[in-house]
């Protein structure tokens, strides 16, 4: 178990190093000189050189890479090329916003998908199960931003129940925070829920085929009870995998919903920084996203060990 843990941690570390190199290399080939973009195109070459020097863009790439990594590891990523302000607090702010959005949406997706998916599996030959199945298929087919636009049109503009967009930090005004969170979370969460139900359904279907459930049923337990008592734990393995993957997609997938709902999250920071060629900022945002994904994968791996007794045994 410990060995397995160490092995996983090692993989995480290795992945982090490799991906940081990839991200850095990618940024190095990005066209558009950040100093020139910051200064405006008619700026003199001398001014551009001076600014490059100020940013340290004239140093060898290896040195630039190392100082970047150092900044990340010490949680002091330095200043933005464009705004000249410290990057760290900004990243923290934006990440917080996106996490609120993504985690809430994910929670909504899970809360909806697990019962619905289970029902779909248990009743998969019945009209109700098929109907749910059809609904989830349609849900999967709707782009999240379209869902957002429609939700705004109906609940904000037409009915006036909720604000159309915006973001208020929870500490500032908790009521407004919740109000503004409802629609983006719905548009992000429901589409995810549709995807997730498919996986829950298929995982539960598999479990239903297992022998021990047959036995339980033979003992007279009703299918739902048998499933809840014996099967959900096993069904959760593939579901957790998918959750991890989805969480990763969602972190960046939220960018579209952030745009629709004017939420100052990580995704919108990425888009802004790309267009302003604020390279160091882009690098940092991408790296945060990548780290988040890798860490989520790592956690999922650990969860396997907890959930699946077979894996634990196999690890020894």
């Amino acid at each position: 178990m410990v060995l397995r843990l160490l092995q996983r941690a090692g993989i995480l570390l290795g992945s982090l190093v490799v991906s940081s190199v990839i991200v850095f290399a990618f940024m190095a080939v990005l066209p558009g000189n950040p100093a020139r973009v910051a200064l405006g195109v008619n700026a003199s070459d001398a001014a551009v050189h001076e600014m490059e020097h100020e940013f340290g863009l004239d140093r060898p790439l290896v040195v630039q890479y190392l100082s970047w990594v150092k900044g990340l590891v010490t949680f002091d990523p330095g200043n933005s090329y464009v705004s000249g302000t410290a990057i760290g607090p900004q990243l923290a702010d934006r990440l917080q916003v996106t996490l609120w959005l993504v985690v809430t949406a994910m929670a909504l997706a899970v809360v909806v998908a697990i019962p619905v998916g289970t029902v779909m599996a248990v009743r998969h030959r019945k009209v109700s199960g098929l109907a749910l199945s059809a609904v989830s298929q349609v849900g999967m087919a709707i782009p999240a931003f379209l869902a957002g636009i429609l939700l705004i049109a109906v609940f904000a503009v037409k009915l006036g129940w909720l604000p159309a967009n915006g973001w208020t930090p929870p500490a500032q005004d908790p009521v407004m925070f919740v109000k503004q969170l409802v629609l983006p979370v719905l548009s992000l969460g429901l589409v995810q829920a549709a995807v997730l139900t498919r996986y829950v359904r298929s995982a539960v279907l598999d479990v239903l085929r297992e022998d021990y459930l047959r036995t339980a049923r033979a003992k007279g337990l009703r299918p739902m009870r048998a499933l809840v008592r014996h099967g959900l734990r096993n069904a959760s393995v593939p579901v957790v995998t998918v959750l991890g993957l989805q969480l990763a997609t969602l972190l960046i997938g939220a960018v579209v919903v952030e745009r629709v709902f004017v939420i100052p999250g990580l995704g919108s920071l990425l888009l802004d920084s790309v267009s302003q060629r604020d390279l160091i900022m882009v690098q940092d945002v991408v790296m945060i996203l990548v780290v988040a994904v890798l860490v989520v994968n790592f956690v999922v791996d650990l969860l396997y060990l907890v959930i699946d007794p077979r894996l634990r045994a196999g690890a020894r």
Binding site: P31, G32, N33, R36, V37, A38, L39, G40, V41, N42, A43, S44, A47, V82, S83, G84, T85, Q90, D93, R94, I149, I152, A156, V157, G160, P163, A164, N165, G166, W167, R259, V260, F261, V262, P264, S268, L269, L271, D272, V274, S275, Q276, R277, D278
Partner: protein, 523 residues
């Protein structure tokens, strides 16, 4: 950059608060020989109450599209920074009033010497910077000198004509030009003329310090910038206690924000097709005027097929401007035939020079010998450019041109490909800088690559001549430019503001670089 190009491509603004002052200062630069007094007896900003309203505790939220990257317009280009800061946080010696005339600002009056090279400004003694320091002639000299010395944006060249500035007394500043220039005082109304504190320029990117009626409140990056009323302002206090500029990347989100009461004003409508939902609703007022933003179908005059004058002319004949404006910008905006917006003194309707004439276009295309060339129409990813690009391509193809449409990410990719490297045949961009004919076409190294010594001479004459000569020469220059088909002018962007009913003082025309909120009031 001489002009600035920004996502909004609009400098929405106007000095609504200074309507009173404008009457007295209208002809301040008419220096025909005599020393002409500038400004009225009272300074502009001290005359009357802003917008005729008492200061209140109300707040106002204005929705815009392009957020500044930082707050330092001395080093960072773009319209977004002066839009928020100029006239609100920073003041100049002079400012532009709603009619487009030069009105007093921190200078209550000024005189121009006989040879029109020496300007003497009488400064207010009441103004104070938000760092507590009083505004004096030394600060004014410092600010003017600093443009040449420390500014990096190309607009700073407006100050090149200044030979030196001299402090005569704490309230009297003399500026001596190296040659007479009609343009210089005008440029002093733009960001170039903003007055800084000698001890307040260390953190311009985040902490602007000016003398204006507002000071910076909170900047939530990616979301909003709020301005707070400056209670120690030397002039009349503005009506709103706080004004928040909220930024919306997505124009539809901007509309929704007004519809659901998140904001009170849409500063620049980017989706003219959506205006119906406001015009048919008596909760809102729609204000439509004009701007300085000429949407230009620019040609690469320096190389490639568009170097051929017949090609350029053919393109101009092939475009149906009326139909283009109707489809591209819902028919809102003004058709022009040259690089002069209708609000400039030397405006002339030149749309008749190249009427829509497909037969003519086809003939010229054939004569040019370039008919087999595929024209690269490289447009930035901006709403009006994408929209107009679609129409231009279709119209040109109907006249027999071969056109390839490339969309370049704005600003970075477009700037480096089209603007810096001039690797394009045609592009579409709104030049929003005031009086930018010289900037866009007077410099052979500019991306239009237009070289015409006769044109440049006219501009120089216009700048150095009398005010009357300036108007005549600028008219001539504009016509020469148009006849030479140096570009095609699609239309002038309209200034469309939608606001809650009851908000007064919103400017009809956006002709300065500032979204001046000092004259706004509620009811």
């Amino acid at each position: 950059m001489r002009h600035h190009i920004k996502k909004t491509a609009l400098v929405v603004a106007a000095a609504a608060s200074l309507v009173l002052a404008s009457c007295s200062a209208g002809s301040s630069t008419s220096g025909g020989g005599d020393e002409s007094p500038g400004g009225g007896a009272t300074g502009g900003a001290t005359g009357g109450t802003a917008g005729g309203q008492e200061a209140s505790n109300a707040s106002l939220s204005i929705g815009l599209v392009a957020e500044p990257a930082n707050l330092d317009f001395t080093k960072t280009d773009g319209a977004a920074i002066p839009q928020v800061l100029l006239y609100n946080v920073y003041e100049g010696l002079v400012q532009l009033d709603q009619k487009g005339d030069i009105a007093p600002g921190l200078a209550t009056s000024w005189t121009v010497s006989k040879d029109r090279k020496t300007y003497t400004f009488n400064l207010t003694k009441d103004a104070k910077f938000t760092n507590g320091k009083p505004f004096t002639a030394a600060d004014a000299k410092f600010s003017i000198d600093r443009v040449k010395k420390d500014w990096t944006i190309s607009l700073k060249s407006a100050m090149d004509v200044v030979d030196h500035a001299k402090v005569v007394s704490p309230t009297k500043l003399q500026v001596v030009l190296s040659h007479p220039s009609n343009d210089w005082l005008y440029r002093m109304t733009t960001r170039v003329g903003a007055m800084f504190s000698r001890t307040g320029v260390d953190h311009l990117a985040t902490k602007p310090i000016g003398t204006g009626p507002y000071k910076l409140g909170k900047w939530t990056r990616g979301d909003s910038i709020s301005l707070l009323r400056n209670n120690s302002y030397w002039g009349d206090k503005p009506y709103y206690k706080t004004v928040t500029f909220k930024y919306f990347k997505d124009p539809t989100a901007l509309n929704n924000a007004l519809l659901t009461g998140t904001i009170n004003v849409i500063g620049t409508v980017q989706t003219p097709e959506s205006l119906g939902q406001f015009e048919n609703n008596n909760k809102y007022q729609v204000i439509e005027g004009t701007t300085n933003g000429e949407v230009v179908l620019s040609f690469n005059n320096g190389s490639g097929p568009m170097k051929n004058k017949k090609m350029r002319q053919a393109v101009r004949y092939a475009i149906d401007h009326k139909a283009l404006l109707d489809t591209c910008w819902a028919g809102r905006g003004t058709l022009i035939g040259s690089m002069v917006p209708p609000t400039d003194p030397w405006y002339e309707d030149l749309t008749g020079l190249y009427p829509h004439d497909v037969a003519m276009a086809k003939t010229l295309l054939k004569e040019s010998g370039e008919a087999n060339e595929t024209l690269r129409l490289r447009i930035p990813t901006l709403p009006y450019a994408v929209s107009c690009g679609t129409v231009v391509k279709s119209q040109l193809e109907q006249a027999g041109f071969k056109v390839k449409l490339d969309q370049l990410e704005f600003p970075a990719a477009w700037l480096s490909t089209v603007f810096t490297n001039a690797d394009y045949d045609m592009s579409i961009i709104a030049h929003v800088e005031p009086r930018d004919m010289g900037a866009v076409f007077g410099d052979p190294k500019y991306y239009t690559r237009y070289t015409n010594p006769a044109f440049s001479n006219l501009l120089k004459q216009a700048d150095e001549g009398t005010e009357q000569e300036q108007v005549t020469d600028m008219k001539k220059a504009a016509k020469m430019l148009s006849q030479d088909a140096a570009a095609d002018w699609l239309f002038v962007l309209p200034n469309i503001i939608v606001a809650d009913k009851g908000i007064t003082g919103l400017p009809k025309n956006a002709i300065s670089e500032s979204f001046d909120v000092t004259g706004l009031a509620g009811s």
